[in-house]
Symmetry: C2
Amino acid sequence: MELKYTGKTKDVYELEDGNLLLKFKDDVTGVDGVFDPGANTVGLTLEGAGRAGLRLTKFFFEILKDKGIPTHYIDANIDEATMTVKPAEVFGSGLEVICRYRAVGSFLRRYGLYAKEGQPLDAFVEVTLKDDDRQDPPISEDALHMLDILSKDEYQELKALTQQIGNVVKEELAKKGIELYDIKFEFGRVENQIVLIDEISGGNMRAYKDGEYIEPLELEKMFL
Amino acid sequence: MELKYTGKTKDVYELEDGNLLLKFKDDVTGVDGVFDPGANTVGLTLEGAGRAGLRLTKFFFEILKDKGIPTHYIDANIDEATMTVKPAEVFGSGLEVICRYRAVGSFLRRYGLYAKEGQPLDAFVEVTLKDDDRQDPPISEDALHMLDILSKDEYQELKALTQQIGNVVKEELAKKGIELYDIKFEFGRVENQIVLIDEISGGNMRAYKDGEYIEPLELEKMFL
């Protein structure tokens, strides 16, 4: 198998059957040793972070499969920290789609004039471009359409899928007394269908218990 | 008459009949002495800039009036550099609405991965919050709705008005062989109607002739 791409938190290999193998690493995004799911740099390395992230990802992707929500997931090997997925075509050079239930992070940094920290946001969806050089700028439905990244119909489909998947994660966390504040997804096309790709782990979300933020690794321990 | 507000490029007085008097100053926005219509600071002072801006504003507001497009404009006194307007209620703490015909400025800084400098943009509309402390962040239709700044219907009305007014300015400039690249508007409510407020001058737009950028004062000289 051939190494295709080295990412910040995982490496991607091509398998002989055309599928991809994702190897989860122990690196998590952040700045100066502090975890931040929105950051573009590896902030810290945590022993076991890769396997813990994969365990949570496997848990959620299998729930989504049962619910008939399309993802790239085929199967996972926890011991090896690897996940086998269908190859997907990303939109443009990649998008991040955020679903927000409470105002924290970049939302608050941008809209703090109108929103208080922790204010409920009702599954608010926003899209940012994956573009480290330009600090992952937010982009509107109209701009995505004009720049040929997403059609208007694809945008609406992406938004609906994001809220649907966000709500699944939120409900699962709520069963453990944990509240989801926001979560970040990536999507791609597999055979002309929009599917969830990448992962759903502690590193993609901000979760709180009794008003206290839960670190990704701790979340994964509490959760599984 | 009472001074109500001191702005970066004009002062606002309240008249006895309840209308407002805008006094155009010779300050233009920019950074380090270079004009930038998107900047939040006064970059330079140019003798006659206030009167020149008012002359162009009067010209455009009177064309809009003839076309039945609603604005806050009542009349103007060029010698005094003043304009009388109806008082309008702004949306939230104020919005800027940009209409783009070619990719330059902040659009290119954000979306340079997908757009080339000067690429045509087909009257693309985007909204930013007036918030100096947060560098006037862009905001989506969904976020404007969620934060109770604009309803969905108001957003569509604002977008349509922006393109309508942008196209009027673009056509007038084209008559002089000048090409409009982008233009920034402000809107408000007067008696429950959305109307154009503030000004339409060289300081609000980027205009080019034969591919060369035209400074605001020069534009006003070429134009009138």
